[in-house]
Symmetry: C2
Subunit: 247 residues, 2 copies
């Protein structure tokens, strides 16, 4: 893990619609940035993936339950209803903030439900049904079109307990390590390392965010120079309930 890294933003990807060929659009954008190389990791914003997968809901058709009305405070109860449908469990509520566990096991604001930038506040975007499958499909699309083996990370911005601000993390992973476990490895002085699971996929997602921004319409980036290998899953990054001290 000691070579220089490059993090390259992918520009010129149009506003996305259900059914668009995101793999082709990403390959084209990467070609304009010099092309994809073997062992690159392509980080793609969750919202881009969700839009082409049709994970979009119009508030207009939503009938809020009594629980949604109760949790909504003075916010739109239809939005709360969509969040509750995506949630396995609501952990904390301080309207308009809802921290919930999604059906995937992710703990995040609004169960990952977010307003669509392009379509305005009455259109909500949900998380992909299976972000690891989304990542694998994009990896396969790149392999087919370019003949290169890359890793793919589907990323989203999550808040954290105890720290301000969001950082981007990996929801879905394919073709690259999610976690690097150094347990049993020796450090530079020859002592064995303990407690050494590094969530590399989250760090890669965060690095990509630094060039993607939120306002620039750049939904993807290439991270080049990682020497991780591996073939992890985003689901590995979810802390198993029985090991979780903060539930």
């Amino acid at each position: 893990m000691t070579r220089e890294l490059r993090v390259v933003p992918l520009r010129g990807i149009p506003e996305l619609e259900d059914g668009d060929d995101l793999g082709a659009l990403l390959v084209d954008a990467a070609a304009r940035a010099g092309g994809l190389e073997h062992a690159d990791v392509l980080v793609v914003a969750q919202k881009a993936v969700s839009k082409v997968e049709g994970r979009v809901v119009q508030l207009a058709g939503i009938e809020p339950s009594s629980r949604a009305r109760e949790l909504a405070g003075d916010t739109d109860p239809r939005r709360l209803e969509v969040i509750l449908r995506e949630a396995r469990e609501v952990l904390r509520v301080r309207p308009p903030l809802v921290i919930a566990e999604t059906r995937h096991g992710f703990v995040c604001a609004s169960a990952g439900v977010d307003a669509s930038n392009a379509k305005g506040p009455d259109t909500l975007v949900l998380l992909p049904v299976d972000p690891d499958a989304s990542a694998a499909a994009l990896r396969d699309a790149v392999r087919q079109r370019c003949g290169v083996e890359i890793g793919v990370i589907v990323s989203d911005s999550f808040g954290r307990a105890w720290r301000r601000g969001t950082t981007d993390v990996a929801l879905g992973v394919a073709g690259t390590a999610a976690i690097v476990d150094l347990a049993g490895q020796l450090d530079s002085a020859g002592y064995e390392l303990h407690a050494t699971e590094i969530a590399v996929a989250d760090e890669i997602a965060g690095a990509a965010q630094l060039v993607m921004g939120k306002t620039d319409g750049i939904p993807a980036a290439i991270v080049r120079g990682l020497q991780l290998g591996g073939d992890g899953l985003g689901s590995e990054l979810v802390m198993p309930r029985e090991r979780d001290l903060f539930r």
Copy 2:
């Protein structure tokens, strides 16, 4: 935030001792990697900073309190005693794991107390007393020696609630933004963004970790190409108690 980033590891920094001139060693290492440039962010591992600041404790001289013995389980109670002295509050205990709030307000494993790699398990390294001051001192040292204005982040590996593995985060920050607040900015479709504090300094620390590793003896990296500006503090990244839903 849309240029390409480079993340460059700094090699050849020797094992550090109390009183070493870390600024000079970093400038020399950066020179071997092509030199520091205006607006670079230099990320330095907390352990390197702590060692030159003498924040090192020998277990041999420690007398454990009864509470330390109680919390230690079958681990070394002297280690628990050191952790308790660094902690403002203990949040969770599952021996040998202790999650505590440090006097700085950071919530992390062992109140940031860690075994020294180089000196073996009987030597513990504590967090710097004031990581923001440590970062500012390194920034000033670089300005004095090279005449360039850089940002500095003092980083450490923290676990997270709900997610497996550690990611590197910013304990101390100088000369660069800690948080970018997009509230009120318009996204690419012209809608105003909400809930948009991005913890950029944590993402930068995580990006640097990807080239620093834990076993390679690379305690620092340069992150180049950020267009953040700003002059934040690591202390800004601590969630104020009254806003914290997970205490």
